[in-house]
């Protein structure tokens, strides 16, 4: 790839949105889709890559339905997928609190929260099935929080004035994932799903224009092998680790969707990345990842910094009320401390850039704001706060050595979630027929910004309630169900893909340079964070587009990968992932440069109003940007899916 200006071409994108009124599209589509006869399901091979919420839910459900399923993950157990770390909760339009919630309102909030950059029909369907998710999870034994009457408790979450978020202490992702993992385990035990842990997918195999299998490396033995299928699902999570420091688990990577991109699955909106406002600030150069403090803390904590830069080094308790600036309450009186993530993050960055940040000085700056619980403790008592957040306060203390019951927490924004991903149509199928993409890995439902507690909802919606229908429709439409054509793993497309993967692995091992993979990843991440993080400029992005290829070249000449390919080799795994981040980072910057507007998580400094709020440009950018791979060293091709808003009218997103 290089940085020459992208050329827009006619759209090759068919969103496949069913006709009819918004609220009836999904039901109508479900009725119209073709079915696979139960007796024939076993004849279809389905590959699911990923065992997070989206992958585990899909693999379990498809197994229950009778398909012949193989599921892959790189961790030692499917239960350890990154979804396990989600803390805060999951949204659903149950309206159990009788506070005015409805499918339409959740739909509306998600479209608006996404800054009008998502496809309406997908989002509406998400809101519709949200209610089934909670029912499903409770039936599986997910121990959601309950009230004394024995019914489910809910709370409010960033970006919403309703209490529609279900939770299981501060470990909602863990409990939802264990629910899905248990269902998956049941199918594994029954022999309907074959699980391949510690196995990394390194390529998609395409035969006759369709995705027909994958190439994987067994991370224990190092063996590289091919698996055939009639349909491949990627549920491989997000790419936040392109920034090196993020709240994502260390293993999260872009390899699966990146390699699929190179095989014809367009990548959409990579510049939509979400920065989470409540993370523990960086403490030094050794830092390996950032830790999120759940956003639910913003229900009771108040964000402030000193009004005067001179006070920033002082003990917080010594700063009188009159000298404190409660930033979010001042700027956004109606949402206050619950303003959406992008808005809150930028507010924190602004005050720190003004020199009013708090905490230790790292790299010449204090990068932190206070999140203060003193008022809530006074009002509700320390016990109530302990009951709500004990595990988070404990975690904070373990990491910082500070007690947040006695002094305010320090927080700072960090990369958290990626809205961009593989472009998919209404059926969650990519531009490569037979390749479906679910969960954080696709671009579908959150537009330019995701609301809190909506990723878990989306992952489970995709896996439990959408893919099981749309996959069947694809199989029934493309194969003779009684005798679906099988390919041999020895056939040419598989052999070619296998040798290409082996070649890349050997190439990495042969460089034998001087610098560790880690040092390259750190440097790349810092570059991308500085110039394509919370605030982006044309100048910075152009510089970044020059810097990335230079560093990438050095990587390919000077990286040191120890060991061999025929053994358990974490250095080699990591090198492959970082190599893909290097290529992907360029697409991210290209997309950020081309989108000459501010929207949601994509903030272009050139486009803000007098008060520093993001300014969208609906005339020129009301579309999803789906990038098509044009070959190595060639500029990617931009395809546009125009977004039409029938139900929710385009309006400025305001949280004042």
């Amino acid at each position: 790839m290089n940085a020459e200006a992208p050329k827009p071409v006619n759209s090759k994108l068919n969103s496949a949105v069913p006709s009819g009124p918004m609220a009836q599209k999904w039901d109508k589509h479900k009725f119209e889709m073709k079915l696979v006869n139960p007796a024939n399901k076993r004849k279809f091979e389905v590959i699911v890559v990923g065992s997070g919420l989206a992958g585990a839910a899909a693999a379990a459900t498809l197994g229950e339905q009778g398909y012949n399923v193989k599921c892959f993950c790189f961790q030692d157990s499917p239960r350890r997928a990154h979804s396990i770390a989600a803390q805060g909760g999951i949204n659903a339009a149950k309206n159990y609190k009788n506070d005015g919630d409805s499918v339409h309102r959740l739909f509306y909030d998600t479209i608006k929260g996404g800054d009008f950059r998502a496809r309406e029909a997908n989002v509406h369907r998400l809101a519709q099935v949200s209610v089934n998710i909670i029912d499903q999870c409770v039936a599986q034994g997910v121990p959601f929080a309950r009230e004394y009457g024995g019914l489910l408790d809910t709370r409010s979450f960033g970006g919403s004035q309703l209490q529609r978020t279900f939770y299981a202490r501060g470990q909602t992702g863990q409990q939802l994932l264990l629910g899905a993992y248990q269902s998956l385990s049941r199918q594994i035990g029954l022999g309907n799903v074959k699980m391949f842990p510690r196995t990394e997918m390194l390529d998609v195999v395409v035969a006759n224009g369709k995705a027909r299998g994958i190439i994987v490396r067994d991370l224990v033995s190092g063996e590289i092998s091919a698996h055939t299928a009639h349909v491949v699902v990627l549920a491989t999570g997000g790419y936040g680790n392109v920034f090196f420091l993020s709240t994502n688990a260390k293993g999260c990577n872009v390899t699966a969707t990146w390699r699929a991109y190179k095989k014809g699955a367009f990548f959409a909106n990579p510049c939509y990345t979400q920065i989470h406002p409540t993370c523990i600030p960086v403490s030094g150069d050794h830092q390996s990842k950032l830790t999120l403090m759940s956003e639910s803390l913003r229900n009771d904590g108040r964000v402030w910094v000193p009004k005067n830069a001179a006070d920033c080094g002082k003990a917080p308790a010594s700063i009188p009320e009159a000298d404190r600036d409660y930033v979010l309450e001042r700027k956004y009186p109606s949402f206050g401390n619950l303003a959406p993530r992008d808005v809150s993050s930028r507010a924190a960055k602004e005050v720190c850039d003004e020199g009013r940040g708090v905490g230790p000085i790292v790299d010449g700056k204090r990068l932190g704001v206070y999140l203060d619980f003193a008022d809530a403790i006074k009002r509700l008592g320390e016990n109530k706060i302990r009951e709500r957040y004990a595990n988070l306060f404990d975690m904070y203390e373990r990491i910082t050595g500070e007690n947040a019951y006695q002094q305010p927490m320090r927080i700072y924004p960090a990369v958290h979630y990626t809205m961009g991903g593989t472009w998919v149509d209404y059926n969650l199928m990519s531009t490569l027929p037979g390749l479906f993409v679910a969960g954080e890995a696709n671009f579908s439902d959150h537009g330019a910004n995701r609301l809190g507690a909506s990723a878990l909802m989306q992952g489970l919606a995709d896996g439990y309630f959408i893919l099981p229908y749309t996959l069947g429709n694809y199989l029934a439409s493309n194969y003779a169900a009684a005798n679906p054509e099988k390919l041999s793993a020895d056939s040419a497309p598989f052999r070619d893909a296998l040798s290409a993967v082996k070649e890349q692995t050997n190439r990495l091992l042969k460089i034998n340079g001087k610098r560790s993979v880690l040092s390259f990843h750190r440097q790349l991440g810092k570059m991308v964070w500085d110039k394509c993080g919370m605030a982006r400029t044309e100048k910075g992005l152009k510089e970044l587009l020059r810097e990335i290829p230079t560093l990438r070249e050095e990587f390919w000449q000077n990286v040191k990968v120890t060991g061999t390919g025929e053994e358990f080799n974490q250095d080699l795994e990591y090198a492959g992932r970082v190599a893909d981040f290097f290529e992907f980072a360029e697409l991210l910057a290209t997309d950020a440069l081309h989108r000459d507007e501010s929207c949601g998580g994509h903030f272009r400094v050139e486009h803000q109003d007098d008060e520093g709020e993001a300014k969208r440009n609906d005339d020129d950018f009301c579309y999803a940007a789906a990038w098509e791979y044009a070959g190595d060293g060639k500029a990617p091709i931009l395809n546009k899916e125009p977004l039409e808003f029938e139900e929710v009218h385009l309006a400025k997103r305001s949280y004042k």
């Binding site: 030692d76 039936a139 470990q171 385990s185 035990g189 050794h286 990491i399 880690l518 120890t562 250095d571």
Partner: protein, 253 residues
């Protein structure tokens, strides 16, 4: 600070393995234990030596991937703390730290500090679930659950499946892990329906995997990063006894 690490190195399952010493120089107290290992590994790579293999992913104490015995204690012995959440401020300049993998017959070593814990997955596959398919489930609020039961179920459900309980036990027993799942599901009406079948099948699989018996020394509870209580073991024993008395047999595979 400067430390000495005595680390178990083992190339693969068939290598007998041995301890090797490494200097860990210029370690900062704010680093986590695994960040300290990252630093040591980075230096090993720079010298062209093979880095120490260890599992980790979330680095927030929730995924259960990290698993090393630090100075004889799984996860290093700080209450409710996994190795990834342990910080170097708990060590002193000049300390020698001994780092080993989980040691148990059911968890064979793959390399260095990395072990194969798939036995836990197979125990769950034998019965650690509620047998419901996707779809057709009743409204979530149709069955009220007393808050006390839901909270207690959550206490058990917090298990991260790291295996520290097995590593700490002199018999390498998996009773705390197994009883946590049985306790979690059995306390909820949704899971209680098949509790007898569950307990019989899970215990049979646990035995088949080669985990040892429980002699109630409590070392598992002491190292559990989620502080899961031994009471769940007593609960499981009761459920098991009831199932046996009713003549329940494990399902045949």
């Amino acid at each position: 600070m400067n430390l000495t690490l005595t680390v178990w190195r083992q190339k693969n399952a068939s290598d007998p393995g041995r301890f090797e010493n490494y200097a860990a120089k210029d370690i900062i107290p704010d680093m986590s234990f695994l960040e300290m290992l990252d630093v040591v590994n980075d230096r090993l790579v720079a010298e062209g030596r093979e880095p120490i293999a260890f599992d980790s992913d979330c680095r927030e104490g929730i995924c259960g991937a990290c698993s090393c015995v630090i100075n004889g204690v799984p996860h290093g012995g700080h209450r409710g703390t996994t190795a990834c959440q342990l910080h170097m401020r708990h060590f002193k300049d000049g300390d020698t730290i001994v780092i080993e993998p989980w040691r148990a017959k059911a968890f064979p070593v793959i390399r260095d500090l990395v072990t194969d814990r798939s036995a836990f997955d197979r125990v769950i596959q034998a019965g650690g679930f509620v047998s419901v398919n996707t779809g057709g489930t009743p409204d979530a609020n149709c069955l009220p659950v007393p808050k006390e039961n839901a909270d207690l179920a959550m206490d058990a459900a917090q298990c991260i499946g790291c295996g520290a309980c097995v590593a700490a036990c002199k018999n390498a027993s998996a009773m705390l892990f197994v009883s946590a799942k049985i306790g979690h599901l059995g306390l909820l009406p949704q899971g209680a329906v098949e509790q007898e079948r569950r307990v019989i099948n899970m215990v049979a699989q646990m035995d088949a995997e080669g985990f040892g018996n429980c002699t109630v020394t409590g070392s598992c509870e002491a190292v559990c990063p989620k502080e899961i209580s031994l009471n769940f073991i007593s609960r499981m024993n009761r459920d098991y006894a009831v199932a046996l008395l009713k003549g329940r047999q494990p399902d045949r595979k």
